[in-house]
């Protein structure tokens, strides 16, 4: 019974980890601009992220080392320093985007400028990490994140065109606005395998003291949890395509994205969208802030655990204590949380190979994973998708930036 509970909790946690400001924003943008044509990107990305999550969890179960820990040890300080710099830049942008997402959700409900909420959200976030344990942080916010199932309900209410949705699962080139199409595709991929999520998942497995007997649970969690998360993201694409697309609404702000919920839920639509966005972003901002601490602590070999009082791992606590206010300043200074989100998601796709290829090396290293090494299918599939995403990102980001 305890195992079943653990698996259920793991699945709920994965949904919470899967769905954040990036997944919601990129799915809504894709549906509004290109209908159901981009569902294949979501499906392909989900398949890849299932493999990656399972690998990160298996590494932790067998070696009791997290991904960053093992990358520093296996690939050396030179490689780790590139990863550190890249991940700090991307994670800070993602943290700013998530904080902005929560603030915008509060703005949608109250009508007050979102900037006023940013410092309050940042303080509550810091307080939760400072006082809370890993399970409280992880499971509490993930359970709250289940409100995002409202997107699935909304899609069912609208009666989705299943035939067209199935056609969307077949890869296709855009009929118009190619640069935007590929930039959005990169954003979707970036939102799916955010590098912070892989290390956070592996660190969580160590915090929860997973061992060899947890390998099957890790597999079920990765497959079912990520698939459930993808179902919600697909629902957002379909909902956006059915409600915003026909009206010619191109999403430029979260206010416009919220309109997708008006048709199925009427007056409750905007508060429901805000609740989904707010809880998903708050959960993800906890994960990113903690991951920044994990990144430094594991990379430099400091004591770390969210279950310890800050006195026991002072440097670990210092990193999130500095990162959270900095993220808040970033979102206020840079403005427009939606643009920060789409840009940081595309950067995620650029950074992905830097963390995925060492993971593949580790997952084939007998010193770390003993006989629990990767099969060739996982190696080839993950490498192919990540290389393709990197190439598209390298081409699409300059095109989108130059095109404004």
């Amino acid at each position: 019974m305890k195992n079943i509970m653990n698996v259920a909790l793991g699945i709920v946690t994965s949904i919470g980890g899967f769905l954040d400001v990036g997944a919601i924003a990129t799915a809504a943008l894709a549906g509004a601009a290109f209908g159901l044509q981009m569902l294949w990107v979501l499906a392909l990305g989900t398949l890849c992220v299932i493999f990656l999550t399972e690998m990160a969890g298996r590494l932790a179960c067998v070696s009791h080392h997290s991904l960053v820990d093992a990358v520093r040890e296996r690939c050396g300080f030179r490689y780790f320093s590139f990863l550190l710099i890249g991940e700090v830049i991307v994670d800070m942008l993602v943290l700013a985007a998530e904080l902005g997402g929560v603030a915008v959700a509060l703005h949608l409900v109250t009508g007050i400028d979102y900037r006023w909420f940013v410092p309050i959200v940042a303080f509550v976030l810091w307080l939760l990490i400072w006082l809370g344990t890993f399970s409280m942080v992880q499971n509490g916010t993930s359970l709250l994140g289940l409100i995002t199932l409202a997107f699935v309900l909304g899609m069912w209410w609208m009666g989705p065109p299943w035939h067209e949705a199935m056609k969307g699962l077949i890869p296709s080139a855009p009929s118009h606005d190619a640069a935007r199409y590929w930039f959005t595709a990169v954003g979707i991929i970036g939102a799916l395998f955010e590098p912070f999520m892989l290390n956070f998942y592996a660190s969580g497995a160590i915090e929860e003291k997973w061992s060899l007997k947890d390998i099957p649970m890790n597999r079920v969690t990765a497959v079912v949890g990520m698939s459930f998360g993808a179902t919600i993201a697909i629902s957002i694409v379909i909902l956006s395509a059915m409600t915003l697309g026909p009206k010619g609404i191109q999403i430029d702000s979260y206010e416009q994205a919220a309109m997708m919920m008006l048709q199925p839920f009427g007056a409750w639509g905007v508060p429901l969208f805000a609740a989904g966005l707010g809880t998903a972003c708050f959960g993800a901002s906890l994960q990113v802030a903690l991951n920044l601490s994990y990144l430094f602590a594991q990379g430099f070999g400091w004591n770390w655990s969210e279950n310890l009082k800050p006195h026991e791992d002072a440097r670990f606590a210092l990193v999130y204590t500095l990162a959270i206010p900095l993220g808040a300043v970033l979102v206020i200074v840079l403005g427009d949380p939606l643009q920060i989100t789409t840009f940081s998601m595309a950067l995620n796709a650029l950074l992905a190979p830097v963390i995925v290829f060492p993971l593949l090396i580790l997952m084939n290293d007998r010193h770390y994973v003993r006989e629990y090494r990767n099969h060739v299918v996982g190696n080839v599939l993950v490498s192919a998708i990540v290389v393709i995403a990197f190439i598209i990102a390298a081409v699409a980001i300059p095109l989108e930036v130059l095109g404004g």
Binding site: R72, E73, F77, L131, F300, H311, A317, H367
Partner: protein
Amino acid sequence: MADPLPLVRDVLDKQVLDPDKCKIGKVDGILLQLRANRPPRVMAMEISQSSAWRRLHHRLGDAADWLRAKFEPGQGARAHILFEHFVRGGIDVHVDVPGKRTRALAWEDWLQQRVVARIPGGRRGGKK
């Protein structure tokens, strides 16, 4: 002949754990002792950011050394653990000297006492 120890594979960049499994740091550098008319001897493991950044570029190492000399609490030499305290290598390095007896935790101790302890909820140690 005793088993050889691949220093780069099994020691450099590995996590250092003391007898209580406390994380002291990573092995950022390895020091050799040069001896007249005799082969060099592996002397110590360095646990210091400046040693790590120096491996990237000597100017980065110089900058880290300057920062350390200027700001590090206690301001002594770079933290290192003599190789005689080495117990075993692998994916972690185990040593028989407590972390508190090395200089590697100078910043951790300073932050504990001067910063964390002054924030509400940060004074006591242990589990949450």
